[in-house]
Symmetry: C2
Subunit: 514 residues, 2 copies
């Protein structure tokens, strides 16, 4: 029977930035004491890294002492080979001898040699040593790596095959196990990802082939689409192999992670499926899916581009402004741009020289009768939205601007507006969130040399509870507004908004003034 390693805290930390409520951790340790799990990997140990990373990224001694006291299981921490060198071992691992049973090392196969040096140092301190070697679906292409495998013998206690992209099938597991076994006598492990919902069958296949250890996490919590679910593995082994499982303990620990699941919503979805089945990096996808402003379809589009190895589809004519524009109105996708459309329309019509920039085409149909110059910001998949908003482009009078080349998220242009598309030469006023709708709209305003910029339809979110996505979007817009305000010119919102960096006037006061 294979051993089971649960790495919920370590791998789940990708979602929580490695902070977990202590009460949750205690519940986890108590419940797992009653479950047929052999090892618990509770986090990283690391030299100081830039930016905030939580408790379980560094695993301070006092925390490991407490875990050691509470848990009956073997305790594991992991090192990131790319950041840790043999000279760090004394500080990082010296103090945890006796607290931790196994040290794993996350290894890019290209650096197996360097990892072996590090591992020898770890081994000398008396720890079990696990090698977590990434990108198993590509190992056949690394001839040198395969040859080096024999050097693992006697150093690593477990040699893990990691399905980094979540795209391997049961037959690939068998093939890779055979490949590795031809080259090393080391005990083998498997760490599966669930992009294609194959983590269970891949793990069971590995078990049927005599694998020695399997990784899993509660609810599959882990980077991107997540991992094999501990509860699924235990339930399957209970019914298939008669593994003794205390389902009350299992139910309790699964239930205790429910709040985090609802908050972070990890698990597979179409973007992760596409990246998994095409061996595209999970990291970008997780970034796009969880914390940025991209629509679902923009992500699909970007992945299609990556898959086709198209960094970007094409170069477009550069956007140039031949004249200085007096005033600009930027229309956002918020509800106030609809609620106050009549007032805004009157304001626009009384300023025939004002250029209107649609940050999103979401509300553009409410303004399609105006004679003013109009600019549409085409970020990511916005072209698809435009097609839905405008039934046909027969009388499309505006122009479209796109982010500078190359565009990570791709270039989709409805064929009927193709001749009216331009790319910005650069986005200069900000070094963050450069490819957002708002950055594009503001940079366009800068290139148009406008003296005064109004905005409407940037409502922000007023709910007490914001989703992570809504919080991020708010933060991004605040950052962009602030940079523009401070360095370029004041931004005046003419509709209600919760953004703090905006100045306010009422659109109705402007109409009155006329």
């Amino acid at each position: 029977m294979a051993k089971i390693l649960d790495c919920t805290l370590r791998d789940g930390g990708y979602y929580t930035n490695w902070d977990f409520d202590k009460s949750l951790v205690n519940q986890y340790l108590e419940s797992t004491n009653n479950l047929p799990i052999d090892y618990l990997e509770v986090g990283y140990r690391s030299i100081p890294m830039k930016g905030y990373l939580g408790k379980y990224f560094y695993c301070p001694i006092y925390e490991l002492e407490d875990i050691r006291k509470r848990s009956l299981k073997k305790i594991v921490i992991i090192l990131n080979e790319k950041d840790i060198r043999v000279e760090h071992i004394k500080d990082l691992l010296g103090p945890i001898v006796g607290l931790v049973d196994m040290v794993r090392i996350a290894i890019d196969p290209e650096y197996l040699g360097r990892a072996l040096v590090l591992a020898e140092g770890v081994k000398k301190l008396g720890f079990e040593v696990g090698f977590n070697v990434m990108y198993m679906s590509k190992w056949k292409q690394y001839g040198d790596f395969i040859k080096e495998l024999k050097n693992v013998d006697g150093i690593a206690d477990y040699f893990y095959m990691v399905d980094s992209y979540g795209g391997v099938y049961p037959e690939d597991v068998i093939e890779t196990m055979n490949l590795v076994r031809e080259n090393t006598k080391c005990k083998l492990g498997f760490h599966g990802h669930n992009n294609l919902e194959l983590a269970l069958i891949n793990s069971l296949t590995a078990i049927s082939q005599g694998i020695d250890i399997i990784d899993a996490t509660i609810w599959g919590m882990g980077r991107g689409a997540g991992n094999l679910k501990t509860e699924l593995l235990l339930t399957a082994l209970n019914s298939k192999e008669g593994l003794d499982v205390d389902f009350n303990a299992l139910g309790t620990v699964v239930n205790s992670f429910d709040t985090l699941l609802k908050k972070y919503e990890w698990g597979t979805n179409l973007p992760y499926m596409i990246s998994g089945s095409n061996s595209l990096p999970q990291k970008d996808v997780m970034d796009w899916v969880t914390t940025r402003f991209y629509s679902f379809n923009s992500i699909i589009q970007a992945l299609q581009n990556q898959k086709a190895k198209v960094e970007d589809n094409e170069r477009l004519p550069i956007f140039e402004s031949t004249e200085s524009i007096d005033e600009i109105l930027i229309i956002g996708g918020g509800k106030t741009a609809v609620d106050h459309a009549e007032g805004v329309m009157e304001f626009i019509l009384s300023n025939p020289n004002m250029t209107v920039i649609h940050a999103s085409s979401k509300n553009a149909s409410h303004y399609n009768t105006i004679p003013n110059k109009q600019v549409f910001c085409l970020v990511g998949n916005e072209g698809h939205r435009m097609e839905q908003v405008f039934d046909n482009f027969g009388n499309f009078e505006g122009i479209c601007v796109l982010p500078p080349f190359p565009r990570k998220m791709g270039t989709y242009i409805p064929s009927t507006v193709r001749e009216k598309c331009f790319e910005l030469p650069s986005v200069e006023f900000t070094d963050k969130f450069k490819d957002s709708h708002t950055a594009l709209a503001l940079q366009t305003a800068i290139f148009l040399n406008s003296s005064k910029v109004f905005i409407v339809g940037y409502d922000g979110y007023q709910d007490v509870q914001l989703s992570q996505k809504e919080r991020d979007l708010t933060e991004e817009n605040e950052t962009l507004f602030s940079l523009f305000n401070d360095n370029i010119s004041p931004l005046t919102s003419l509709t209600p908004s919760v953004y703090k960096k905006l100045k306010f006037d009422s659109v109705y006061s402007y109409i009155y003034e006329k």
Copy 2:
């Protein structure tokens, strides 16, 4: 290459009660027009059934006409063999000749003979005929069914193996396909459920064995843990077999079901995994998981009982009251029972003859110093909660009541209170929600012959948006309060509450009175 049948509207209807926004349906039809899907099953046709069932359970002619107009795919409806007889065919199917291409029949293998008669009638009208035969994991046990299979030839166009419990593995798929092929020449189909996240690998295995048609639904929407995800099947076939997939269309349709997914949260979880891997009926589990008041652990416990074929663990002494109690206070699990605990305590202490009933032990620790008689309602897994609330039961002075024998959700009793447990002889004042905490508490009050019943800690939910579970619980409690109020005696809440069927007094006014 196997054909693909998407049955999102039919199978997803188990969550929406077969109502879907027309705009969502139109988006679904438009997107699927651009996807390599062959058949769309859009709902049931049915004779009138009791209770409300939505549009796509009956599929009125005008709706099928509209679908026919919008869709380029073959259109399918399904009949429930258990409800439909050959004499219903004329009315149900006569008017949809030309609108629908295939009629499927959901069949219990025990009634294959009866289904064949029905199918002949369907076939005569010119429809393609699909047999969706349930419980494939148990077919080996049905000798007669296997012998009858030859009669399917010439009547069914597709003979589907349905993994009703969601517990079959790839090797079972192969075995069952072989078993069926030995007995019929009919083209074969597979309908997989995703309890163990095996729907994809089972379907791919069936395809590798030459299956003719595969079922899937968007996001896996379907009864219980749901089905094979259409987007997963298409993505896998795209990368493995080069199937041409328009990922923008796929992304659009997947995204359009996102709101329903957030609302109903279908998909697998530990209860579904347990039921799947032990061939326990999905229907109960879905009922427990989605619409009732059971805790996660109660469900686990109940499934453990089913698995062990323990209908109920034991008979307990019958709860009898030897005396007539003057007043009763029922304490619920709401926050007000904590916020106002001091006031409630004073009220209790000033009424030494009052019996206190803890509907849930959630708040009981706030009242553990009172000298009054105390009764604890042990529903489902409440015993586990009690153990957490009370560190030890050394000085446990109360008694526990459980629902009448047999208890569907099982009997869990902490060993230290075993001698103080009784079961109610019956729950009579209501014929609904008999095994809820509230029903148990109110029935106990009835058996205690009390003249006056107060309640605290029944707050209800005040959020604008309630989850389905919260809405159901509110409705259940309102029903029970109303029955008790109208037929037994008035119920007075002494803490704030949103329940409309309660009378109100302030706990502080009672203290003042003394």
